[in-house]
Symmetry: C2
Subunit: 325 residues, 2 copies
Amino acid sequence: MRIVVLAGGIGGARFLRGLKQAVGPGTPEAGSEITVIGNTGDDIHLFGLKVCPDLDTVMYTLGGGIHEEQGWGRADESFSIKAEMKAYGVGPEWFGLGDKDFATHIVRTQMLAAGYPLSAVTEALCARWKPGVRLIPMSDERVETHVLTDVEGERKAVHFQEYWVKHHATVPAHAIIPVGAESAKPAPGVLEAIAEADVVILPPSNPVVSVGTILAVPGIRRAVAQTRAPVIGLSPIIGGAPVRGMADKVLEAVGVETSAAAVAKHYGSELLDGWLLDESDAASVAEVEAAGIPCRSVPLWMTDTDASAAMARAALAFAEAVREA
Amino acid sequence: MRIVVLAGGIGGARFLRGLKQAVGPGTPEAGSEITVIGNTGDDIHLFGLKVCPDLDTVMYTLGGGIHEEQGWGRADESFSIKAEMKAYGVGPEWFGLGDKDFATHIVRTQMLAAGYPLSAVTEALCARWKPGVRLIPMSDERVETHVLTDVEGERKAVHFQEYWVKHHATVPAHAIIPVGAESAKPAPGVLEAIAEADVVILPPSNPVVSVGTILAVPGIRRAVAQTRAPVIGLSPIIGGAPVRGMADKVLEAVGVETSAAAVAKHYGSELLDGWLLDESDAASVAEVEAAGIPCRSVPLWMTDTDASAAMARAALAFAEAVREA
């Protein structure tokens, strides 16, 4: 089976770990190929280096190098360089890169400077991490999510990471702008993977700044809408609140209520062939189906890999049911 | 007193530490200004980063951050990035950069990419290290010392660091080529410092690939030859062997015998107003003076800072004697 997942960072990565288990050796879907289209809208240049937080979170998580508790960055990390940067008076201080993580960004930046596109660089980095999926950035071109906000009394657009990591989404978000998206092209293989997929999954990633940014790259939304494969989404909202992160703030910025049903309708029936929401939101199934989107309720807390694998199996079963319907 | 020193790496840095002590608070020369013109011919781009080994050795040594036993690199260093590079299969492995050291190169590379010349970048880095001297690279332009050698049966020019660090100077050196030197300009302040100096010192740095490379930048040799200040050199050769490093190999490549007298004559009376050789080479004083270069023998082993300071005092006293003669 060919499975395509549009993924952001932590939520997408943890779902993918469950998906890998769900289609692992000994399962009915053993031998499935998973293609991950990764969000690069939160990429940032720091200290002259190209940092791709979401791609790295997927790569480290699936490759066994992730800092488990934190959900991002490397396990057993040291922070010599961060201390040195502070000693040199070179910022920003609010973005915490560890020494091992720096190595990834140095290798990536060196390859990009040598002329390799980000997709080729990502493939080269994955040659080490062996994530067990094909990880493709949504685009080889630079797309940067900016947030229109008020900082120190001034309305201005700041890089998403500044909004998210520096300000912890505590400043108002008036609009989310994927700068550069309108002129970006999907990376090689992205549209083909979606077109040839047996199932497309929107994991419980941020619907605005992760999946939304991927869909903002011209051609990708249409490819997802037009693929013959069932498209199954999993709600990142449970009981009216994001499972993690601050998705409620960016949903509000795009005028979407923070509820499992509202996010389903935000994606819309033109994209979704099925929507999974948490058991606790079962009362909303009817509302989603009324919008033309088949809906089921299942446990959606990714408490461990088994739980994530169960979610993945539910998504694949739902896709099968939709396909047969 | 305005003192100018043309310095390479370890030898130059240790001499400078002595010089600082020799003109420190409470000494007759307290308040002297030391300008160091640093060799950049052994600079190398590694992992996409600009590495300046000699400038950094001077900066770390005088700023209190040097790895004392090793003579280069940072004290209390860790090597996470080096291990990561190996895991990524990204070389070269033979150049050992520590994590703290990487931070310096990241900051430097970022500033260079932002358009600052190397001299401004060096000044910015020194704002942290406070080396107590004005450190200026010999040129803001790229000059790279290459060595014509035989590697695996093939005659070819390799980067000096490859010859020195990878091959430990065990492959033959047929020629030393300061690539780019002929079209390089001295960095801002270099010629002025030499012209306005009260004394110019050639410390016991490598006469070929350190001091020689600095002198190869058009205008610098003439400035040293023409300055009214006495120019005093200290022999890096004691008893027919280099004090450290592999200067004998590169001296041979330029057709100069490995002896204190031969190095003096290599610099020549048009550059030197005085030459200090080690007590053990006292028999060569007459040979140097016969070449028109005033010469004295003093202890030249930099066993500790006190010994280096004594050498610096000897050089300053010699300059004073030359000036009065």
